[in-house]
Point group: D2
Amino acid sequence: MRIWFIGAYGIVSTTAMAGGKLIEQGRIDTTGLVSSLPQFEGIEKYAPLNFEFGGHEVRKADNAYVAALQHWEQNRHFEKEHLEEVRSELEQIRASRGTAINCGSGVQALGELDILENEKKTLAEIVEQLEKDLKSFADDDTVVINSASTEPLLNYSEKYHGSLDGFEEMIENDVKEHASASILYAYVALKNRIPYGNFTPSAGSSIPALKELAIEKKVPHAGNDGKTGETLVKTTLAPMFAYRNLKVLGWMSYNILGDLDGLVLSHRENKESKVISKDKVLEKIYGYSPFSITQIEYFPSLVDNKTAFDFIHFQGFMGTQMKFYFIWDAIDAIVAAPLTIDIARFLLFAKKKGLYGVIKEMGFFFKSPMDTNNVNTHSQFVELVEWFRENI
Amino acid sequence: MRIWFIGAYGIVSTTAMAGGKLIEQGRIDTTGLVSSLPQFEGIEKYAPLNFEFGGHEVRKADNAYVAALQHWEQNRHFEKEHLEEVRSELEQIRASRGTAINCGSGVQALGELDILENEKKTLAEIVEQLEKDLKSFADDDTVVINSASTEPLLNYSEKYHGSLDGFEEMIENDVKEHASASILYAYVALKNRIPYGNFTPSAGSSIPALKELAIEKKVPHAGNDGKTGETLVKTTLAPMFAYRNLKVLGWMSYNILGDLDGLVLSHRENKESKVISKDKVLEKIYGYSPFSITQIEYFPSLVDNKTAFDFIHFQGFMGTQMKFYFIWDAIDAIVAAPLTIDIARFLLFAKKKGLYGVIKEMGFFFKSPMDTNNVNTHSQFVELVEWFRENI
Amino acid sequence: MRIWFIGAYGIVSTTAMAGGKLIEQGRIDTTGLVSSLPQFEGIEKYAPLNFEFGGHEVRKADNAYVAALQHWEQNRHFEKEHLEEVRSELEQIRASRGTAINCGSGVQALGELDILENEKKTLAEIVEQLEKDLKSFADDDTVVINSASTEPLLNYSEKYHGSLDGFEEMIENDVKEHASASILYAYVALKNRIPYGNFTPSAGSSIPALKELAIEKKVPHAGNDGKTGETLVKTTLAPMFAYRNLKVLGWMSYNILGDLDGLVLSHRENKESKVISKDKVLEKIYGYSPFSITQIEYFPSLVDNKTAFDFIHFQGFMGTQMKFYFIWDAIDAIVAAPLTIDIARFLLFAKKKGLYGVIKEMGFFFKSPMDTNNVNTHSQFVELVEWFRENI
Amino acid sequence: MRIWFIGAYGIVSTTAMAGGKLIEQGRIDTTGLVSSLPQFEGIEKYAPLNFEFGGHEVRKADNAYVAALQHWEQNRHFEKEHLEEVRSELEQIRASRGTAINCGSGVQALGELDILENEKKTLAEIVEQLEKDLKSFADDDTVVINSASTEPLLNYSEKYHGSLDGFEEMIENDVKEHASASILYAYVALKNRIPYGNFTPSAGSSIPALKELAIEKKVPHAGNDGKTGETLVKTTLAPMFAYRNLKVLGWMSYNILGDLDGLVLSHRENKESKVISKDKVLEKIYGYSPFSITQIEYFPSLVDNKTAFDFIHFQGFMGTQMKFYFIWDAIDAIVAAPLTIDIARFLLFAKKKGLYGVIKEMGFFFKSPMDTNNVNTHSQFVELVEWFRENI
Ligand SMILES: NC(=O)c1ccc[n+]([C@@H]2O[C@H](COP(=O)([O-])OP(=O)(O)OC[C@H]3O[C@@H](n4cnc5c(N)ncnc54)[C@H](O)[C@@H]3O)[C@@H](O)[C@H]2O)c1
Ligand SMILES: NC(=O)c1ccc[n+]([C@@H]2O[C@H](COP(=O)([O-])OP(=O)(O)OC[C@H]3O[C@@H](n4cnc5c(N)ncnc54)[C@H](O)[C@@H]3O)[C@@H](O)[C@H]2O)c1
Ligand SMILES: NC(=O)c1ccc[n+]([C@@H]2O[C@H](COP(=O)([O-])OP(=O)(O)OC[C@H]3O[C@@H](n4cnc5c(N)ncnc54)[C@H](O)[C@@H]3O)[C@@H](O)[C@H]2O)c1
Ligand SMILES: NC(=O)c1ccc[n+]([C@@H]2O[C@H](COP(=O)([O-])OP(=O)(O)OC[C@H]3O[C@@H](n4cnc5c(N)ncnc54)[C@H](O)[C@@H]3O)[C@@H](O)[C@H]2O)c1
Ligand code: NA
Ligand code: NA
C-alpha cells in the first residue's frame, strides 16, 4: 500500500517509513502495530505490509534518509543499524513542496521554508499543485496521513468551513485568512477519494465542509490527534476509578519533552490553556469534572523522550483519601509511528469495504476522536475489534 | 439485608459494618460502593442499603465496636467521628465462636483463640454449632462473606473435596486433616441456601464438592480473593500494552504493608512463592508470560496503608525499550470493605433472580475469579453490567 | 522563652504554638526540633523549652485555639487530641491587630482584614502601635518570628531602604508606597533589641537599613524563607552530583499544594517566574546553571499536604545519560513549625552570647540565607554545629 | 599511569579502559571523574591522565576489545563510536590467566574458566605466577584494582588471616580452604609495593594479615565495594533526616538489575540476607536502627541498567507521618568505571606522598569503607578534599 505523509520529514513520518520498510523486509517484527494483532487477522488482504511512501514537506532536505538521520542524531530512538538497512529505500523518498499557510510562528521558526506560497500562488493554484503532486503518487491503495507540525486553532468561519460550497468559494475567491494548510491537504485527499487520517490536533478533515465532501465522495477519514502518551495511560486508568465508584479529587498531568515539537507545543499550551482545570477526557469518563492540571513543558535534554508525571488524589469509602502516582518514560515517535501505519491500514480496509465518512470506530487511535464520546481505551478497542469483525 | 462475616472482628469486616450503618443512616455517601453506580439502578429493590450484621470469629472481643476501635487506634483509616456515630449499633454486634481448624501458624499467632475445637468437638459437632449460629441470625435476605485471615493452601484430597458425598463423609468420619475452617463455613452457608462470597484466597466454596452443593441447593456463590490494590491496577493497565501490541519485557510488583495481615502474608508468600516468575494474571492477559516479580513484604509502620511499587519494562516499534512506573498508596481496608457489601448485594440479587452456582460474571471483584479466564478489569466490569441488565 | 509571631493565626504559627506547649508539658517528644539534637546540648540554658506566645495578625479570630482548629478541620495535620490537650493555653493567646500595608491582593483576599491602617493611621502611628503591642509582651527572652503571608516583592528604594536614616525618614514623612508590613515589623523588633527571624520570603530585615539597625542595636537576626520541602531535598541531593562530577542536564521541580497559601503562591509565581530557567540554588551548588524548571501549582484537595515531583536528568562517564526521580509527600506546616522554634532558640542563644547582625551560620534554616552563598544542607549543618560549639 | 585490573574483561574494567583511553586522547571530557574536579587540582602531576592497562582474568577472550564489545552488545552503555575510536588500543590489552580459588558457584557459572588451578598448581605456585604476571607489567606508577566478580564470604581463620606470618604459612602449606582469589591478588600487589584498591565486597586487602603487610611495605590501599547506586543516594539523603531530627520509621530499598552480576548477587543476597532488617549504613548515620528492607532482584531485560526504588517513611513534629520516594535509573558500569580510575589515581598520589596503610580518607568511594565509621557522602567528600589539600 502507499502512504502519503503530510510532514514527510518529521520524526513520526520518517520513523514510520523506516519501520514500514523494515517490516516489509522482515528485519523487525510487528511489535507496536495494532493492526497486526490476531484480532485483526485478515487485514493483510486489504492492506498488506508492504509500502511505498511519499509526502509533502515545508522544510528542505535531500531525502527522507537525510531527514531521518538528523532526527536519529538527536534522539537515538532506535538502533542505528536499522536506519542503514533501509538507507537506499529512504533515499529515494523525496517530499514535494507543501504549503504552510496559517501554520503560525511555530512552523515559521523551523527555518527557511520551502513552500508553494513563496511563489505568490493563489489558494486555487496551491490546491492545484498539491493535487498534482498527490495524484502523481497515488494509486487505489493510497492513504494520506497528516503528521505535520500542529497548526494554531483554525480561524473558524461558518461561511467557508460550514459547507462544501462555502469551502470551494473560499478557494476560488482566495480568502487566505480562513484557509490553513491542514484543511487544504485534507480537501485534496478526500476530493480524490483518498482516505485521510489526521494524526495531529490541527483541523484537517474535521470541519463540516470536509465531512460533507467525504460523504459525497464516499471516502473514509479519521482523526484527530494520535493518542500516544499520558492521555493513553489516563484513558486506560481513569475508568478504573469510575468502575469502583471512587471519587477523583484531583488529577495532575505534567509532561516534559524536548525537541522543537516540545518547544512549540509548550508555547501553544502556555498561551491557550496553561492550566486546564477542566479536562475533557476526564469529564467524558466521569460525568463530572475533577480538578485537573494538564501541563506540558519544554525540557531540552530529553529531546523526544516524553516523560509524564501523573498524580491522582482520590476518595474512597467513608471519605478516606488515597493516592496514585505514575511516570511514563517513553519515546514519543516510537509510540506514534506504528499508529500512523495502523490508521492508514484501517482506512484502506474501510474504503475497500465500502465504508465512508468519519470512521468513528477508529477512535482508539485518537486523543480527540471525531463524532464520538467514547474515550475509554478499552471500550474503544472493543469497538474497533467488533467493527473490524463485522466488516471483514 | 443481613451480612454474616466470617472474621467478624477483622479490619475489613468492621469497616464494612461501620460503613454499612453509616450509609443506612445517610451519614456518608456511597463512594466506593460499586453496586450504587447508576449502571446498577434497580438493585435497591433486591438488596436495599440497610443492614444487620453478625458473624463468626476466633479472637475474643467484647463486640464489633471494641474490635473496630482497636483497628482504628492503629490505622486512623477514617474519621473518628464516624466510628462514634455508629457506636451503639456496633456494640450490639457480638460474633459467635468459630473454628480455626487448619488455619495455620499465622492464625495461631493472633493470640489465645476462642474456638470450638477447644472443646474437643468433632467435625460434625463443629459444623452443627456453626449451623446453629448462622441459622439463629439468617433470614431470606442473608449472605455470608468470608473475610477471615487467609488460610494455608488446602491439603487437597480428591476423595474428600472432589464430591459432595466425599465431603460429607469427611465430616461424618471426622477426617480433620482434610478439613479447613473456610470450607466448613462455606458448607454451612450453602447447605442452608445462603449465598456465599469468598473475599479471601482460602479455599472456601471453590472445591468441587461445594460447587456441587451450590448447584444442588440452587444457591449462588462467588470468589476468590478481593481485587483491591496492585492487582486491580495491574489488570486495568496490562491490557493497554496488549491492545497496542507492545511487548512486556518484565513487570515488577513490589508490595509493602504492616499489621498482622502483612506479617502473615509475607511469611506465606516468602515460603511458597517468593519470586513468582510467571504471573498468572499477566499470562491470561498476554497469552505469554513476561518475566515478572510479585513480592509482598512486611513494613510495620505502614500498618494497613498498603503501598505498591510497580515497574513495567516494555518494548515498542523497532525494538525500542521504554518504561512505566506506578505507586499505589491506599488503605487496604477502605478499598476492600465496600466490595464485601457489593458482593453480598449482587449475590442476594442473584438468589432472588433464581441464579445459582458460581456467578462468574462477578469476577470483577476477585483476584482469582472462579470458572473464568477473564481477569481484565474493563471487560469484567462490562460483563457485570451486562449480566445485571439482563437479569434485572 | 517568649515568641512573638507575625501572622499569629496562620497554620505554621498555630502549629508551633500547639507543639511548643505540648513539648513544654512533656506530651510529645522533640522530633522535628533541630535545636534538641545532641549536637546542640547546652542550648536549654539559654533558650529553655517553655514558651509564651503572642503575635500580630490581620485576620480576626477569637484566639489561637479557634484559629488552630480551623486549620485542623481542613488539614488533620496532627492528632486531634493534641489540640485539645493545649486548648486552654491556646485560648489565652490573642493576637494584636497588625498592619497589611502593601501586602498585595493575596492578603486582601484573605477576607475582611482587621488592620491598623483601617484607622487611617500614618506610618509613624502604625509603628508606634506595633511597638506598644510588642513591648507589652516582650521580656529579655523574647524573639520575633515572621510567619505571615508572603508579601509581593518590595518596591525597593535606595533612598528609603538603603540606610537607617532614610528608613526613619520614610516613616516620619509617611511615604507609604515604599513601606511594607514585614519591614515595619522587623524595624520595631530590632529597634527594641528583640532578635528577629524571617521565615518568609518577604523583605523583613534583609534591607540595608535594617541590617544597619541590627548592628547599631547589637541585636541578632536571620532569614529568609524557611527551607522545608523540595528545596531542602534539592540542596541535600544536588551536591552528590557535584561531588561525583556528574553533569546535571536538567532539573525539574514541580510542586503542588492546596489551601490559600497555595493559591496565593501560585499566583505570585505564575506572574513573576512561571518557568525559572535559572535556579539560583543549583547555580550556587554547581557553578553553572543547569536547565531547570521550578513550578508551584494549586491543587485544592491536598490542602497543606505539599507534594513535590522532581526529575533530574544527568550525564555520566563517556556521555551516558541517566535519570533520578523523587516524590516528597509531606505536611508543610509540620515540617515548618518546629523550625520557627529552632530559629527563635538559636537567635536567643546568639543574643545572650553577645552576637549580633545577620547570623549567617543559621543559613541551614533558610531557602535564601542572608549574606552567604552556602546553600548545601550538609555544610550548612556543619557550619551551624561549629558556630554553636564555638560560642557555647 | 598503569592500572592492573583483576577481572580485566568485566564490564566495569573494560568501560574504565575505554574511557581512560578516550580521555587520554581528548575524545571525551572528564565527566564522572571525581579526581578531575577543581578541588583536586594538582593531582595530574602525580597521576596524569594517560594510561596503560593490564590485568588478570578467568574467562577467555581474545582481548579487551572483544570483551568490551560483548558487554556493549548487551548494554549499549555508551555510544558505539567511542568503542571503535579506541579499538586498536583495547585490542592490545590481553589479560593474564588468573585464579578463581574459592570464588564460588557464581563464578563457576560464568562458563569454562581458564585458570591457574586447572594446572593443579599449589598456592605457592599460583602466587608465584600472579606475581610474575604483575611484575612484567608494573612500573613505579602502577596500581592494582580489584573489579572481579564478588566472591562468597571468606572462610575466615584467625590463624591464617590474622597475621602476615599466618598468611604466608597458609600459602606455603597450601591450605587452599582458607585461601580466596581476592586475598591472593591483594597479597601479590602489596608485597610488591603496588597500591591496591578493592572495588568489590570481596575480602581483598581487608584482613589483618594484609593490613600488616601494607604497613610493613609502606604501601597504601583502600576499599571495599564501590559506592555507586542506591547506597550512594541513601548515604547522601539519610543525613538530612538526622539533621532535621526527623525520625525514620522505615526505609525500603529495592534494587533490580539484569546481567550475570545481577543473577549472582541476587543469589548471594537471597541466601545471606534476603531482608536485612538492620541496615548498617543507616545505623551509622542515625545511631539507631530504623526498620529497613534491602533487597536486590534479578530483572533480565534491564541488563546493567540498575534501577533502585526507595521509600522512606518518617515522622515529624507532633508525631505526624510523612513519605519520601525515589527512583534511581542508572547504568551501573558507567557510574562505577570512572571511580576505579579515581581510586587508582588517589592511591598513586598517596604512595608518592609517602602515605601508606589503609587510606581511610578515601571512604567516599566505598560502600563499606575500611577503618572508619564515616558513611555520610558529604562528610566523606569534605574529608577527601581536606586530606588531599593537606598532602599536596
Ligand atoms: N507521539 C507523538 O509523537 C505524537 C502524538 C500525537 C500527535 N502528534 C503530532 O504529530 C505531528 C508530528 O509530530 P513530530 O514529532 O513528527 O514532529 P516533527 O516536528 O518532527 O515533524 C513535523 C514535520 O512536519 C513538517 N511540516 C510542518 N508544517 C507543515 C506543512 N504545513 N506541510 C507539510 N509539512 C509540514 C515539519 O517541517 C516537520 O518535518 C505533530 O503535529 C504532533 O503534535 C505526535
Ligand atoms: N484489601 C484488603 O484488605 C483485602 C483484599 C483481598 C483479600 N483480603 C483478605 O481479607 C481477609 C481479611 O483481611 P483483614 O485485613 O480484615 O484481616 P484481619 O486480620 O484484620 O481480619 C481477619 C479476621 O479474621 C479472624 N479470623 C481468623 N481466622 C478465623 C476463622 N477461622 N474463623 C473466624 N474468624 C477468623 C481474625 O481473628 C481477624 O479478626 C484476609 O484473608 C485478606 O487476605 C483483604
Ligand atoms: N513549610 C511551610 O509551611 C513554609 C515554608 C517556608 C516559608 N513559609 C512561609 O511562612 C508563611 C506562613 O505560612 P502558613 O502556611 O502559615 O500560611 P497561612 O496563610 O496559614 O498563615 C499566614 C498568616 O499570616 C497572616 N497575615 C498575613 N499578612 C499579615 C500581616 N501583614 N501581618 C500579620 N499577619 C498577617 C494571615 O492572616 C495568616 O493567618 C508564608 O509566608 C509562607 O510562605 C512556609
Ligand atoms: N556499579 C557497579 O558496577 C559496581 C559497584 C560496586 C561494586 N561492583 C563490583 O565490581 C565487580 C565487577 O562488576 P562488573 O559489573 O564489572 O561484573 P562483571 O561480571 O562484568 O565482571 C567481572 C569480571 O571478573 C572476572 N572474574 C571473576 N572472578 C575472577 C577472578 N577470580 N580473577 C580474575 N577475574 C575474575 C569475570 O570473568 C568478569 O570478567 C563486582 O564484584 C561488582 O560487585 C560493581
Ligand atoms: Na504518598
Ligand atoms: Na526512567
